[in-house]
Amino acid sequence: MGKFVFKLLRPFVLPIVILLIWQLVYINEVFLEALFPGPKAVWLKFWEMTLNGELFIHVGVSLRRVLLGFLLAMALAIPFGLILGWYKKAEHFCEVVIHVGRTIPIMAWIPLTIMWFGMGEISSILIIMLGAFFPTFFNTIAGVREVNKNHIDAALNLGVKPNSWMLFKEVVLPSSVPLIVTGQNISLGYALSAIVAAELIFKNEGIGYLLMDGRIQYSFETVILMMVILCFLGLFLNLGIKILENTLSPWRYGLKIQ
């Protein structure tokens, strides 16, 4: 029984040790106060922001933007990816533009976006879309391309017409789901990155705004608090995707996942 409890708690040993060391360093080296708030300060900040509603507002704003941008990106990336994966000619057609779009890091798009759309809500959403688009897009194409040829042949053998909608719907599409979901996981990471970047620069509310504001006000607690919140947010969103994955493709262990 004791062994079981130990096993359960073991993963938390490291964080607790870190927090303790952090707190001890902070108490003993007061001059470090400028560089390093103690965990207590961060905790207090957390309560302060929760109680006056600030946290709610900003996290809510960021979350809203991320979800919106992410969903819009998915709505574009998946159909687009499926089409380009299915029709080779289409892929050749768009290839150059896509590569250009892909190799430019998200941050690099921000100044251009500011020039065209200003620093508002639309810009934020667009940046997130840009970030979230490519991983899912490429994984969708790969998913279509890498369907197990044996499965296709088996379907053809059973009467399905080649290059038909039925083939696509019954074989290719389900086959690509694992890769698409993997793409979504990565896209989510990029989306989170994008929203922080956008809010950092646009300074229009949200976690990124608070993050940068914390630095401007020399409020370390805020900066660290925001970072911690981002971690939790990431975990939360990833959990969401996992649940989605389990509902859509419980059979995925039968296929090889990259």
Binding site: H92, F93, V96, M107, A108, P111, M115, S193, M227
Partner: protein, 267 residues
């Protein structure tokens, strides 16, 4: 005669493929030029395509562009090496010593959620504007992917290979086992992690330079936006993309060489 026709046919096929790829970019360039010519959008928003070329020319002549590229590349490289240099041994150690893994798994899963950009304000507070900030930011960006992949590389070693080695006299938890079996087996994973880290690191240097540097390609983008030189903004974007692509390509080639013992090379 027949040989000529086959060659001709293949040539036409190849070139039609290439042409197909070029249609869209050409179209975009043309539309861009036309839009600019007819002043559909103000110059501030849409610089003329030719202006971008002129900017490239101008900045090459006075050496500015090379100065920026070199600075970016240098900071990127140092930050990347630091990040990867810390991540890989740590990852290998965590994968190898199971106890370490149990202790660190949750912490790593938690910390990896943090986007690299989120480290910038902290870096600014600690190091201000300058190279150290960049190293830190790029390093953080380049850290988690090789770390996680290295851990997986060690944990996913084919058990049969380990047993075969044990059968041939190698002690289970020995250095010899690690050096001769575990590590070579993990190399492909490590390289994948390093390649992914590259993308993140390159994105990281751009972000870092936009906010915490006074030169470099990232700085160039943001500064020129403020100074109203949109053609230079576009130029910087293109260069960033190009450099990122070249670096990635280089790493792929290295990876391919190191993995020559693998059947069916993965992407």
């Amino acid at each position: 005669m027949g040989a000529f026709f086959t060659w001709y046919y293949k040539f036409m096929q190849k070139s039609s493929q290439i042409l197909l790829r070029l249609v869209l970019p050409a179209l975009i360039l043309i539309i861009w030029y036309v839009l600019n010519r007819n002043e559909v959008y103000p110059e501030i928003m849409l610089p003329a395509p030719q202006d971008v070329f002129f900017a490239l020319w101008e900045l090459s002549i006075n050496g500015d562009i090379f100065y920026h590229i070199w600075n970016s590349f240098q900071r990127f490289l140092i930050g990347y090496v630091i990040g990867v240099g810390l991540a890989v041994p740590t990852g290998l150690a965590i994968g190898w010593f199971r106890a370490l893994d149990k202790y660190t798994e949750v912490t790593i899963t938690f910390l990896r959620q943090l986007p690299g950009i989120a480290w910038i304000p902290l870096a600014l507070l600690w190091f201000g504007i300058g190279n150290t900030s960049s190293y830190f930011i790029v390093g953080m960006n380049a850290f988690f992917s090789p770390l996680i992949n290295s851990i997986a590389g060690v944990k996913d070693v084919d058990k049969n290979l380990v047993d075969a080695a044990r059968n041939l006299g190698v002690k289970q938890n020995s250095w010899f086992m690690f050096k001769e079996v575990i590590f070579p087996s993990a190399v492909p994973h490590i390289m994948t992690g390093m390649r992914i880290a590259l993308t993140y690191a390159w994105g990281g240097i751009v972000a870092a330079e936009m906010l915490a540097a006074s030169n470099g390609l990232g700085w160039m983008i943001e500064a020129n936006r403020r100074f109203h030189f949109p053609e230079r903004v576009v130029l910087a974007m293109v260069l960033i993309g190009l450099c990122g692509f070249l670096i990635d390509d280089l790493l792929r080639r290295i990876e391919k060489y190191l993995n020559r013992w693998r059947a069916g090379i993965s992407e």
